[in-house]
C-alpha cells in the first residue's frame, strides 16, 4: 500500500538516475510560507548540538552550542571557542553568563523564547506587500541537504534575508542578513550539527566551578505599557506601523522616555523621545547592521534605532512630530 502511494514520485526520479531531483521537486512543491511555518516550529522544538560560525564585519568566530527543549523549557549552553572562555548557561528563563577570567557570573531573567535564530521572520510578516519570499535552490550546509529561501525587500527601507533550511526538519542551518547592495551584512552558519539526538544533562552543565565567583544581577528597565502619546511619524516608510508604545525610565536617567516601536512584521525600529535640545547629538550612527539617527524636534531629542538601512531610521526620526 505504501509502495503504491509513493511510486508515482519515486519512479521518475529513479529513471532520471538522480534522487536529489526528487528531493528538490518535493521541496519546491511546498510553499515558501509553509517552509517558514515549519521553521518556526523547528526552532522552538528541536534539540541540537554543534558548532556555529558567525561572520560579521570581517570577523569570523566560532561557538559551541548545545540546545534542548523539554516540556517547553529551553536549556542551552553556549561556549565561545576563543578569548576568555566565556560560557552562557540557560535554564528556562534564568540565564547565567560565566566570565571565568573575571571569576564572575552575570544573571538575568528572560521572559521570552529567544534562541539562536530568533532573528527569523515571524508569522506577522506580510509577504507580497513589503517582501517577497521564494525558494532559490537546493544546497548543502553542514553536510545536510537544505533548501535556500530568499526574503527580498521591495524597497531600500529594509534588509533582505537568506535562510538555508534543513530539508528533513526545516531547521535553519544558515542565515544571512542581506544589505542594500546584496551582500551579506551578517552570516550565521553551522559548521557541524547533530539534530534531535539525546543530550545528557552533563553537556549543559557549566565547565567551571562558580562556587567562589562573584554574582551580579541585572537592573531592570522600568516600563509602563500602553502610554498615550501625541508623537507620531508624519511620513513612515511603506509598511511600517506602530506596534508598541512605552513610557520608560532607563538606568541613569530620571526622565520618562517615550518609546514607540514601528514594525513591518520583520524589521523593527524603535523611536525614543526624551527632553533635550543638544544640537551636537544630531546625526547618524551605525553598529553592524543596525543604524540609528538623532534629531532635535520641539525641544526633544528624537532617536530612531533599528536593524534597517540608515535611510529608514533617518526618515522616521526626522518626520516625528506632535499631532
Amino acid at each position: 500500500m505504501k509502495f503504491r502511494r509513493f511510486r508515482p514520485l519515486l519512479w521518475p526520479a529513479l529513471l532520471m538516475g538522480n534522487l536529489s531531483c526528487s528531493a528538490t521537486a518535493a521541496a519546491e512543491r511546498v510553499e515558501p510560507s509553509d517552509w517558514l511555518n515549519r521553521m518556526g516550529a523547528a526552532v522552538q522544538t528541536t534539540s541540537y548540538e554543534g558548532t556555529v560560525i558567525r561572520i560579521q564585519d570581517g570577523k569570523a568566530e566560532a561557538l559551541k552550542v548545545v540546545h534542548t527543549v523539554r516540556d517547553g523549557i529551553i536549556r542551552e549552553k553556549v561556549v565561545a571557542q576563543e578569548g576568555d572562555g566565556l560560557e552562557i548557561i540557560r535554564n528556562g528563563n534564568e540565564v547565567h553568563c560565566i566570565l571565568p577570567d573575571r571569576k564572575s557570573v552575570l544573571v538575568e531573567e528572560w521572559d521570552d523564547q529567544s534562541t539562536l535564530f530568533s532573528t527569523l521572520p515571524s508569522s506577522e510578516v506580510r509577504f507580497g506587500s513589503e517582501y517577497d519570499v521564494s525558494i532559490v535552490r537546493e544546497d548543502r550546509v553542514a553536510g545536510r541537504q537544505t533548501i535556500l529561501l530568499a526574503i527580498r525587500p521591495h524597497d531600500g527601507y529594509r534588509y533582505g534575508h537568506r535562510i538555508w533550511l534543513d530539508t528533513e526538519t526545516a531547521f535553519p542551518l544558515q542565515t544571512q542578513l542581506i544589505g542594500e547592495d546584496g551582500s551579506p551584512i551578517e552570516q550565521v552558519k553551522f559548521a557541524e550539527i547533530s539534530l534531535n539526538k539525546e543530550i545528557h544533562a552533563s553537556a549543559l552543565a557549566p565547565s567551571y566551578s562558580t562556587e567562589n565567583f562573584r554574582w551580579y544581577n541585572q537592573p531592570s528597565r522600568h516600563v509602563s505599557h500602553n502610554l498615550e502619546t501625541e508623537w507620531q511619524s508624519k511620513d513612515l516608510p511603506q509598511g511600517f506601523r506602530a506596534v508598541l508604545t512605552h513610557g520608560e525610565t532607563l538606568p541613569g536617567d530620571e526622565h520618562v522616555v517615550t518609546h514607540i516601536v514601528y514594525s513591518d512584521g520583520l524589521a523593527n525600529v524603535s523611536v525614543f523621545i526624551a527632553p533635550g535640545d543638544d544640537q551636537s547629538a544630531e546625526g547618524p550612527s551605525r553598529v553592524g547592521g543596525s543604524n540609528s539617527y538623532n534629531a532635535i524636534i520641539d525641544g526633544h531629542r528624537v532617536t530612531a534605532v533599528g536593524e534597517v538601512p540608515a535611510i529608514t531610521v533617518e526618515q522616521i526620526a526626522r518626520t516625528m512630530g506632535l499631532r
Binding site: 566565556l86 532607563l250 525614543f272
Partner: protein
C-alpha cells in the same frame, strides 16, 4: 598553514569554493582559531578591495595576498586588520544569548550582598571605539547604548529581529567591558602605587 589552505580560504571568502569543500573548511574552522583569523583577514581585505571601507595600505593589499599565498616575507608596514580575540568574543555571544546578560557589567551592576562595592559604584561610561568599517565613524554615547538595549528587549517581545538588536547591544557593551577592565586595571595600579615603600 600551507598554501593550499590559504587558497581555499581565499576562495571561500570569495564565495567560489565548492559547497563540499566549504563545509569541510567550515568544520576545520570550528576547530582551528588560526583558520578563522585568516578567513576574517581575507574578508577584511575583500571588503577593502571592493571599496567598502578605508584601510591603510589598501594599495598594497593585493600584493600582500599574493605574498601570503607565495609565502614570501611581508613588509612590516602593511596594515591589515586583525581580530582581537578579547574584543571579538562578546559580540559573538550575542548570536545565541541576550546581550543584556553581558551588559550587566556595564550598565549599573546591582550587587548581591557581599559583592565588591567598588564595582557597584562604578558608573564609568565607556567611550565606544569607532568601528573602522563605517563610512562615517560615529561615537555612540551612553544614552544611545541604553536605547539599543531597550530596542533589543522590545524587539524580542515582538519575536522578530530581537537577537540582532541584542547582538548590537552586546557589541556596544564589549567596548565598555574592555574599558571597565582597563579602569579596574588602572585602579589596581593606583593601589599598588599607594603601597608603602620599603625604607
Amino acid at each position: 598553514m600551507n598554501d593550499a589552505i590559504r587558497m581555499q580560504i581565499s576562495a571561500f571568502v570569495d564565495g567560489e569554493l565548492p559547497d563540499a569543500e566549504a563545509d569541510l573548511l567550515l568544520r576545520r574552522m570550528g576547530q582551528d582559531a588560526e583558520l578563522r583569523r585568516k578567513a576574517a583577514e581575507y574578508l577584511e581585505i575583500g571588503r577593502a578591495l571592493r571599496g567598502e571601507r578605508s584601510v591603510p595600505g589598501i594599495d598594497r593589499l593585493q600584493e600582500r595576498i599574493a605574498a601570503e599565498i607565495d609565502d614570501k616575507p611581508l613588509d612590516d608596514d602593511v596594515v591589515v586588520p586583525v581580530i582581537k580575540s578579547g574584543s571579538a568574543i562578546r559580540p559573538l555571544i550575542g548570536v545565541a544569548v541576550a546581550a543584556s546578560v553581558a551588559l550587566v557589567a556595564i550598565f549599573g551592576l546591582q550587587m548581591t550582598p557581599g559583592i565588591d562595592e567598588k564595582l557597584a559604584g562604578d558608573n564609568t561610561v565607556a567611550e565606544v571605539v569607532e568601528d573602522p568599517g563605517y563610512t562615517v565613524p560615529q561615537q555612540v554615547d551612553e544614552q544611545l547604548r541604553q536605547y539599543y538595549l531597550s530596542h533589543g528587549a522590545s524587539s524580542s517581545e515582538l519575536g522578530a529581529n530581537g537577537m540582532n538588536a541584542r547582538l548590537v547591544s552586546l557589541r556596544l557593551s564589549d567596548e565598555a567591558l574592555s574599558e571597565e577592565d582597563a579602569v579596574d586595571s588602572d585602579e589596581a595600579d593606583d593601589s599598588a602605587d599607594e603601597l608603602p615603600t620599603q625604607p
